[in-house]
Structure formats: structure tokens, C-alpha cells
Symmetry: C2
Subunit: 381 residues, 2 copies
């Protein structure tokens, strides 16, 4: 019996916990500081008839993390981004293997040496994007030698388009606005170049979804340094019109972090805008989401491979598509690590696992068995 | 020699003062509380080589207004809207005739009895819209008996369309936003009905300008009660796209007057939005405006008359179109009153002068001589 500890019981963590708990080979403990989050994951486990233990714990405390990890064989992370690095370090120091989707802002690779010295395998950013986008980029780089260009298009969207924003945020709306204001790093001619946020919008037709608009976002993360592909970019997908609005909000100063004083009150425009937008951008009960991703890689000779994902809210289990597509790559990889089939001491982003053809094949098959299908198509011999 | 007093030396008042001052029959005094406004009108008079006296005075003070008016034969008003009614009352009590474009929120008709009792002729709202729109509506109601419908489309716009708002405000941006939030009263089947602000947008092609978007605004004012026309509406014109943005701003809560507290600071969203928008909406040096208006009236039998105005910034005199189209109807009417050709004790909006064919003909001819041309066209016998 393998003891798994899942750090964080939010939208994604709760799906990770119940996915593993459905596996007879695992006993699972879900940890969170918030009693209401623990109540929700317990309710979900009961509804799905899977056994699950919950524990309330301060997951910002290294000592608490060490104590919890000491009783586990494998640890999974689904924490707020600001808790990510602390948790990673604590788990490594506890000598436990780790698989994480916490999207930490810091460079997880800083802890690579530490993880090697402890002999533990840590895979970070193992969600959908980052996550599957990285892994498939790595696969493309291996198969198209040399790979000339890589394009990742990804978006999480509400299934119903509602005026005016046609958008809901499955994760923190503040992180979404951050994505709309932070300059985007992409790779051109082998060098990192910086483009403005929300720049270079293009329309793209995607089967089953229709026409979406893609724009530069700062999403390449580790790929910019791990892959030797001369042209790489990640673009985020929205329903057409959303980006224009966000450009206008930004231009008007509504996303500004500079305080301004109006009739004696000092306010940061971004904070007011966020307070007004967040209720508009929050999924209501019964509002369903979808996840769409396209990854296209080309060789210099014109050969190309494309993976297309279209996943939707799962009604039988009341699981958001964002949680499904993010949680399952992590839980499947955690099983591979726990079973000793993936063993690579250090801290690795997913693309560094792409050379393991057996792992990739098993991961894709397990995702498919959960209804998360990456349609692969090749052009050119 | 007729002594004219012009209250207010802003964008419109300064054009009123110099237009009258160019007339050898008048000596003109321009009054304002702001030294910088007086300096600008004096500079304008010098540039146009017309004689002009200026006086600094508190135009919110009835005593000051009475003192100034006592030395004039005719008074013209171009004040901020909140000063309008006080000035009207003071001028009437001083026993002087008055012609005004101050756009007061209150019902000027309240002072009708007072003006009658003093035997003075006061014409209010004598600008472009309200103003010429009212007068021509009155002309249409007289000529198309019975007049079945009346539509007024009017807008002041920058000549250059610039992303994202494609709009500049020639008067207070706060008044513009007020126009975007106040429900619009229109007349249908002979009764006043209320429509939401920014409602019923329609595209309309206007020669020389292209396609504009019209939407309901609360602009009928006195027409709703003075004319017995069963269908009347005023719609404001903007470049297409502006209205959609304003609807989104309103929907997001950015025009809300309800205070909200964000991280300890309490702010009224409208005030922050105004602070951010006003710099974007202010005409910069050398930015030229245009004024476009279409008035269409139809009889039950299908006969119709249309007046089309397209006026642009006047480069030789550096006069905005908004000032030209607003000031000239007022100064021309003031001349008619001063000469005794228009004599109608009481407070009248322009449509009540529409039965005087001689006045209307002279007004249109004088406007035309200043380059402000209302193109009249008839359909049906």
C-alpha cells in the first residue's frame, strides 16, 4: 500500500486526491489549512465512494510540511503559487519524491542539486500548461530532429460566451490580469525576445470550439532554456473580443499599480478594477468550462506534428475541465514515480521526461482512459 | 450703440463675445470669475482685431450679476450648467433681455411668469442641441401639419478617430458620462417613455462623416412638452464602437456612484474612472473637432423634411466647431432681441420662436454667412 499525501485541497488538489484514492494501491491524505476546502474534498470523496483521510495543517510551515511528508511515500503538490517553493524544499528535505502543479513563480531548478543529493525525484509544473505542453514539446523536439519551431496555444474558457467579457477564471483572476500585463518572453532565432503583454493577437479556428483569439503570454517557462528550438512561443486563447477589451482596460490605466488620489482617497486602480471584475469572472454554480490546447512543432524540412486537446466539464463527477486536465497528468506521473518506473533524482520540468517513450505512452493512455484525449496528427513524411 | 454683456468666457462664451464684438453696433463686455479665461478671450479678441472689455466677477452672486446687468442692454449666458438658473433669475430681475446656452438642469420655464411680469424676453437653450434642434423641430411641426415623428441625431466628435475611445469631450467629461448613465426620455404614441441610457444603438450613414452609431440620450428637454408630436427622440452620435465600450464600462461597475472599499480605501468607482478617462478625452492642442446633426420630421402622410449639419473646426480663427455651432445661434438671436425684431416677454425655448418665419430665415442666413449650413431636403409633395 502506497501512502500518498496531497498538499492543497482546492479545485485541482481535490481532484488529484480523489483520483489517487480511487486506486486500490494507494491510501491518500488530503491536507489543507482551510476547513471548508477539506469539507469539500471529503464530500467529493464520499460522493465518488472513495476512501480519503483529511488533515488540517498550515502548509506554509516547513516544520508542518516535514511532519506530514515523513508519513508519506509520495507527495503531490497543488498549492497556491506563493507556497510552492517552500513546499518543494520541505518535501525534498524530508527525502520524499514529489510531483507538483503549484505554478511557483520562482525557479524550481534552484533546488535541483538539493534533490539530487537527497536522491529524490521531483517533477514540477506537471499540469496541462505548463505540464502536458512541456512534455509534448519535449516529444516533438526528440521526434523532429532538428525541431525548428514550437507553438503552444492554450486556454481555459467558459462553455457559454456571455457579454461582455466572454471569460471566467478557473484560477485566481489576479493571476489572469498579471498575465495580461507581464511582458511575454518568446524565443526567436534561438534567443529570448520580449513582447508586450496582449500583443500579436491572431485568430485561430479550432474544431469543436470555433474561432478563438490567441495572444502572447509569458508561458514558456523552463522550455526557453531546456529545449534547443530556435522559434518557440506560447499564446493564450480567448473568445474573440476579450483581448481588445483587456487592451483598452490596460490603456485606460485600469490595470495600473500606481496609486492615484481621487477626492482625498488613495487607491490603486488595479485593485478597484479587480474588485469589480472578479465577481464577473467567477464561475457560478452549474457554469461549465472547457480546456483547449494545440501544440504544433515543425522541422526545418517542413515536417510537422500537432496535438489537439478539447476537454469539457465532466457532469457525472461535477469536475471542471481545468481540474481534470491539470490534475490527471500529475496523479499519473506520481503513480509512475511511486512505482519506480520514473526515477530521476533532481527537480525536473516535464520536458525532461520526454525521452522516456514508455512513460509518455503510459501517460497518454491513462489520460485517454479518463477522457482527456490529445489528438496527434502528422504532416509530411 | 448696444451694450452687450456676455456671462462666461469659456470655450463658447469667448466665441459669443468676439462674434458680437465684431459688430460695429455693439460694445461688448465679457465677464468671468477666472482670470485665465478672461486672458484667453482678450487674446482672442486681439487676434481677431475686435474691441472687447473684460471684467472679473463672481457670476454665482446675484448681486454681482445685477450690478453687471444694470449696465447692459442685452445679456448673453454661457455659464456652467449649475450657474444657469441663478443667472437667469438675476438678469430677469434686473429687467434685461437674455439669450442663453447654459444648459441648466432646472426647468427654466419656472421663471416664465417672472419674466412676463418684467416684460423681458428670455430665450434659453439657444445653442445647437438644444438650440437649433428645437427651433427646426418647431419649424417642422408648423410645416408638416400634423407632424407625426421627429428624430434628432447629434454629436460632437474629434475629426481623427483614435483607438480606443474615438472620442473627445468638448465640454465636461463628467456631463458626458452622466449622459451615458441617465435614463433617456423619449416620446412614443404621444406619451413620454423612459429607455435605459445607451440603449437602442443604430448605425447611420452621414455624408462627409461616414457611418456613425446613434443611441438614446435624454435630450428632448422642453420639446417633450411644447410640441404635440406623437413620436420624438433625440439620439447622440458617436463613432461605432464607443457605445459598446461605454456599455461595458457601465456593466463592469466603473460608472457606479456606490462607494466600495478596497484594501481599506473607500472610493467611488465613477470618480476613479473619470480621473483616468478625462485626460484621454480632452482635446489636445491642434486636435480638431466636428459637429454633425440630422433632424428628420415626417407627417402621417409620409411627407418628410430633413436638415443636415456638418461643421468642422475653423482653422483661420482657431475656433472649435462645438463653439461655432453653439455660439452663433445665440449671438444671432441676441441681435434679433436687441433690435426689437424678436419680442416675446417670458422665458422661451427656441421652438417657441419657430412660428416667426422672418426670424427663422434671418437666423439661417446669418448662420450660413458664418459657414454653419443646415442643408434642408424634402421628400414627398
Amino acid at each position: 500500500m502506497i501512502r500518498a499525501l496531497v498538499l492543497g485541497s482546492g479545485m485541482v488538489g481535490s481532484v488529484m486526491a480523489t483520483d489517487l484514492a480511487a486506486d486500490r494501491g494507494f491510501t491518500v491524505t488530503a491536507a489543507d489549512a482551510r476547513p471548508e476546502a477539506l469539507a469539500r474534498v471529503a464530500e467529493r470523496a464520499a460522493r465518488l465512494s472513495v476512501p480519503l483521510a483529511t488533515v488540517q495543517a498550515d502548509l506554509s510551515s516547513p516544520a508542518e510540511l516535514a511532519r506530514l511528508a515523513s508519513r508519506a511515500d509520495i507527495v503531490l503538490g497543488a498549492l497556491s503559487s506563493h507556497l510552492g517553493l517552500t513546499a518543494l524544499r520541505a518535501v525534498i528535505e524530508a527525502g520524499k519524491n514529489y510531483c507538483d502543479i503549484s505554478f511557483m513563480a520562482e525557479e524550481a531548478a534552484e533546488l535541483d542539486d538539493l534533490a539530487r543529493s537527497r536522491g529524490v525525484t521531483c517533477v514540477v509544473d506537471m499540469g496541462v500548461a505548463p505540464g502536458m505542453s512541456n512534455l509534448l514539446a519535449g516529444v516533438a523536439a526528440r521526434q523532429l530532429h532538428p525541431c525548428q519551431s514550437l507553438e503552444i496555444y492554450v486556454g481555459g474558457l467558459p462553455r457559454e460566451r456571455r457579454w461582455p467579457f466572454q471569460y471566467k477564471a478557473a484560477f485566481s483572476p489576479a493571476d489572469v490580469i498579471e498575465e495580461y500585463t507581464r511582458p511575454a518572453r518568446i524565443v526567436e532565432h534561438g534567443a529570448v525576445v520580449v513582447r508586450p503583454a496582449l500583443s500579436e493577437p491572431v485568430l485561430i479556428d479550432l474544431p469543436g470550439v470555433g474561432t478563438l483569439e490567441a495572444f502572447n503570454t509569458d508561458g514558456l517557462r523552463s522550455l526557453a532554456s531546456t529545449l534547443k528550438v530556435p522559434f518557440m512561443k506560447e499564446q493564450t486563447l480567448r473568445y474573440p473580443g476579450h483581448i481588445e477589451l483587456m487592451r483598452i482596460f490596460r490603456e485606460t490605466g485600469l490595470f495600473s499599480k500606481q496609486p492615484i488620489t481621487v477626492k482625498g482617497a488613495t487607491v490603486i486602480p488595479l485593485e478597484l478594477t479587480s474588485a469589480l471584475l472578479f465577481p464577473e469572472w467567477t464561475y457560478g454554480p452549474g457554469e461549465e468550462d472547457l480546456t483547449v490546447m494545440r501544440i504544433t512543432a515543425r522541422s526545418a524540412s517542413g515536417r510537422s506534428v500537432t496535438w489537439d486537446l478539447l476537454d469539457v466539464f465532466d457532469r457525472p463527477t461535477a469536475t471542471t475541465s481545468m481540474a481534470r486536465t491539470t490534475a490527471f497528468p500529475c496523479t499519473i506521473t506520481a503513480r509512475e514515480i511511486a512505482a519506480g518506473r520514473v526515477r530521476r533524482p533532481g527537480v525536473a520540468p516535464p520536458e525532461l521526461l520526454a525521452d522516456d517513450e514508455g512513460f509518455v505512452a503510459r501517460l497518454m493512455a491513462e489520460l485517454k482512459s479518463r477522457g482527456v484525449v490529445y489528438q496527434e496528427s502528422w504532416i509530411g513524411e
